[in-house]
Symmetry: C2
């Protein structure tokens, strides 16, 4: 390395710990201890050091510390490929809940990905194995894989949010999708509805499974056949939320026996569905009742206001973080509990009694 002492001044980052030590008139190791472990140093010198640090605008170099102690203060969040995946409208709230909790614990939030292509997978694993992140919160049912590496094999503390991955030894924070949908369906049945249209999410998706099962359970409990529900869609990803609703409306128009109630698995599809069928003369809720899922704020202002099952995503994010903190502090793989937070139906004008005629 070329000795560049001859240069006028090095365009370095900022003041170093050594600078603080010099200014405070103490040893560099004392500065380190004062900053990291305030208890182990005399109050007076600690104050002196603090003052010096503040005066210089000193900020410890995170990479140097991270390298030394072998851990970082960053947590990454892994998203599913399609941003919308069923909670489109609530992503910002999820992030907010997570970020707030992380901040309180002194961590930073890194977005590992938004797409889920090969490049992204590699990036995610680089973050995990390159020591950049200390933990991960994953909102997806499949763990990233690239080349020989897999997130599953990393020693990284991970918790799953919105998807139940307790079977894969990941602590999971989920809502009681199935039960909520069952209750909503039962409520529709009690209102006299006997034929249903179910607007599906992508086939095989965890949330679609759960929610559809909820419908079936309610039918069974009421002594109705599975034939009482028509499944629509399932070929499109949640990403195309609005398109699903449009397609479903076309499908609805072709049905000879019209259902009297619709259960949608996301607000987006419910909104576009309503818009389309209303345009063809159907009245909601007089002709057709609708209930959907997500709890997007906009539902309150659709016409008619849309009943939706709201997930307390912010609370869920916070819980996910605190579980992650536990795993970081006590990295016991194994005991992966499934934490259920109740979602709840918000009743609005989009549903009512079934028409006597049908």
């Amino acid at each position: 390395m070329k000795n560049n002492k001859d240069l006028p001044v090095e365009e370095h980052s900022g003041p170093l710990m050594a600078d603080v030590a010099r200014l405070a008139g103490v040893a560099i190791s004392t500065v380190s201890r004062a900053l990291a472990n305030p208890g182990r140093v005399n109050e007076k010198t600690r104050a002196k050091i603090d003052a010096a640090a503040k005066h210089l605008g000193y900020t410890p170099n995170a990479m140097a510390r991270g390298l030394r102690v072998g851990k970082s203060n960053v947590v990454m969040i892994v998203l599913p490929g399609s941003l919308y995946y069923g909670v489109s409208q609530v992503i910002p709230q999820v992030l907010q809940g997570i970020n707030r909790s992380l901040s309180q614990n002194g961590y930073h939030l890194m977005i590992a990905n938004l797409d889920r292509d090969e490049t992204s997978e590699r990036h995610i694993l680089d973050l995990a194995f390159g020591g950049t992140v200390r933990g991960a919160i994953i909102l997806s049912s499949d763990l990233p894989v690239d080349g020989g590496r897999s997130l599953k094999d990393s020693a990284l503390p991970i918790v799953s949010l919105l998807f139940d991955m307790s079977h894969a030894a990941l602590p999971s924070v989920v809502t009681n999708d199935r039960q909520s949908v069952r209750e909503a369906t039962s409520e529709l049945i009690a209102l006299g509805h006997k034929r249903f249209l179910y607007l599906a999410g992508p086939v095989g998706n965890y949330h679609d499974n759960e929610r559809y099962l909820g419908v079936l359970e309610a039918l069974a409990a009421a002594g109705l056949s599975e034939k009482a529900v028509v499944r629509s869609g399932g070929t499109l990803d949640y990403q195309h939320g609005f398109q699903i609703g449009v397609a479903a409306a076309a499908e609805f128009a072709d049905l000879t026996q019209k259902p009297t109630a619709v259960i949608a698995t996301s607000d987006d599809m419910a909104i576009s569905f309503m818009s389309c069928v209303q345009r063809t003369g159907w009245k909601i809720p007089e002709d057709l009742s609708i209930v959907s899922f997500d709890g997007a704020p906009v539902c309150e202002y659709s016409s008619p206001p849309l009943s939706t099952i709201e997930q307390p995503v912010e609370e869920m994010g916070q819980l996910a973080v605190s579980l992650l903190m536990e795993r970081i502090d006590a990295p016991e793989r194994g005991a992966a509990a499934r934490h259920v937070i109740s979602s709840k139906l918000i009743r609005r004008e989009s549903f009512g009694p079934a028409r006597p005629s049908s």
Copy 2:
């Protein structure tokens, strides 16, 4: 440091560069060169090294590299306090555009903040001054400050997105808000509208300023007085988008001279406003025309479908990233251009000719 050679095996992270070197039968420095600068090493040995690295699942430690070379591969995004700030619906798209471009350039995306309290400010500055991030994209008109430190003073390459901060020497990527609103307003005037209601964002907000000026310019160009427009709201933050619309609808109900056209500065407020005034018997667009701003996908499915001015946020994000990359490569403070990307009005059923009666 205690010598712990007696411990069975160290729960280290993973394989080191030294392990790769050993397996490939080459020197550690050769491995480093092969990985970082593939050109400077024989193709055959490079292949051997690659194979060894892949076999071990080797991932270079980002913090060690970062410490050594004095730079990281992380870019942070600084958000305004309220998540919604006028582009609520499009935050995910913005992030997506930014993240995709960053990935292509080998960078990772860190969310510096979602709130904007004191803790967040400190975190942001820690990231900036602690060497964690290599650059920043800021979506806010005020730069973080904490204690003695200010983002302004950091040597960090920064670009501003959505807000024009070229006056503060930050390259900025913005839309032509004012012009778009002016054109939309002119279009309404051409349709015979003479009295307007303007649904304002927070007073003093850059976007609110620009958009309101657009309205005024259109009025002036048509020879109309400024009195032709009633300003509503301005006390609530964009965060409360829907509430602004609700409040504005109440205000609208009290007006003795009803406007025939409404210009809203965000889709959220337009949607809730429509919902409320429709409930009191007003017909849109027969009685009242509405145009809003943001280009949220949901507008296509409101009733009636809402005309809105769409901002190409993904494209803007990409441009912001490429500007940032330039700044990183050639850190010339100064020449801070303002890059304008055109937004455009999407015409839907929410507006039409003014009623002759008024």
